[in-house]
């Protein structure tokens, strides 16, 4: 059996951060398995799934709308329903919202500009597996690069989500017009997460920040626990080894 947990990285036409995600996963002790959007099943022994950033299907109709109906999506739904960890980054977040695996929708940035820079996000909830290496109120520096990142839900839903700890990351400033400055949310079960910032671009201090590694290492921990039956901290040493 493979000693590194397998994390499936889904490739849609127009994905462009799939290789960055795969590289980051490798650096954090996982083995990335690239999965084409037409696949009907995830690889055996898949311990976690990443839907990477990019512009799937050219953002036609609405960002993530067409990818949310891709052939691979039923397999991802089954994996998520079984408690498998699923992380959507940027376009992946948009896809998970369109697939209604996560609450809300991503709208065009209110300033009508593509925003591409490092931003600070504050940890709001550590209940989910993705936040196992973070502390409440911790600030992480992770880059964003998106034109449609203004997350929206109706007010009633927003209050419910906040009360249930499903709002996990908020920008420390208004980055794109996102409701409540929300940068990342999880589903009710806490095993599906989406965020607009790109943790896979922040796993090496040489590139400005390694804070994204905390989220991805937590995903790798969960993948290892699910498929290899080993506990957390497995990726711990590796985070420091990256440089």
């Amino acid at each position: 059996m493979n000693e590194r947990p397998i994390v499936a990285v889904i490739q849609f036409p127009g994905s462009n951060d799939d290789r960055d995600a795969a590289w980051a996963l490798g650096a954090l002790g996982a083995e990335a398995a690239t999965v084409w959007h037409g696949a009907l099943q995830l690889p055996e022994e898949t311990g976690a799934v990443i839907l990477p950033g990019g512009f799937s299907y050219g953002d036609y109709l609405r960002s993530g709308a067409i990818a949310s109906q891709a052939l691979v999506m039923p397999a991802i739904r089954r994996f998520a329903a079984d408690g498998g960890p699923v992380l959507g980054i940027c376009n992946g977040f948009q896809i998970l919202c369109e697939a209604r695996l996560l609450p809300g929708a991503l709208r065009p940035n209110h300033q009508l500009e593509f925003v591409c820079r490092d931003v600070a996000v504050r940890v709001e909830s550590t209940d989910s597996l993705f936040m196992s290496r973070c502390e409440i109120d911790q600030e992480l520096v992770i880059p964003v690069k998106h034109g449609e990142g203004a997350w929206y839900v109706d007010e009633g839903t927003f209050v419910q989500l906040a009360a249930r700890g499903q709002i996990v990351l908020r920008y420390t400033e208004d980055v794109n017009g996102s409701l409540g400055n929300v940068a990342g949310v999880v589903n009710e079960a806490g095993n599906v997460m989406g965020l607009m910032p790109h943790p896979e671009h922040a796993v090496d201090p040489l590139l400005g920040s390694a804070d994204g590694g905390l989220l991805l290492a937590a995903l790798v921990d969960a993948a290892a626990e699910r498929t290899l039956g080993v506990g957390a901290d497995r990726a711990g040493a590796l985070v420091e080894d990256v440089t």
């Binding site: 940035n109 203004a150 929206y152």
Partner: protein
């Protein structure tokens, strides 16, 4: 307009209008409005939506409407942020 098909169904032409829901921020509409204002037009409340023309094979107009409503719910519109309106061609 509709065309008869051999199997008892017909091809119904329709237009689907998808709009940002009221109260939802529409940055595209704001940008278009600001550009129109710069051109000297006294415009207000500009909103930008989407038009989808399609032809659907249906038993009758009700069937066509039902099918298109389902298309809107599953893909063409996001009910959280958009409303839609279906018009069948005369």
């Amino acid at each position: 307009m509709s065309e008869a098909r051999g199997n008892g169904s017909k091809l119904v032409r329709a237009t689907v209008l998808v709009r940002p829901k009221q109260g939802i921020l529409d940055p595209q509409g704001q940008a278009v409005q600001s550009s129109l204002e710069k051109l000297g037009f006294p415009v207000e409340a500009v909103r930008v939506g989407r038009v989808i023309d399609l032809e659907v094979e249906a038993k009758d107009e009700d069937d066509a409407r039902n099918q298109i409503a389902l298309m809107c719910d599953t893909l063409l519109a996001n009910p959280l942020i958009e409303s839609f309106d279906v018009r069948l061609a005369e």
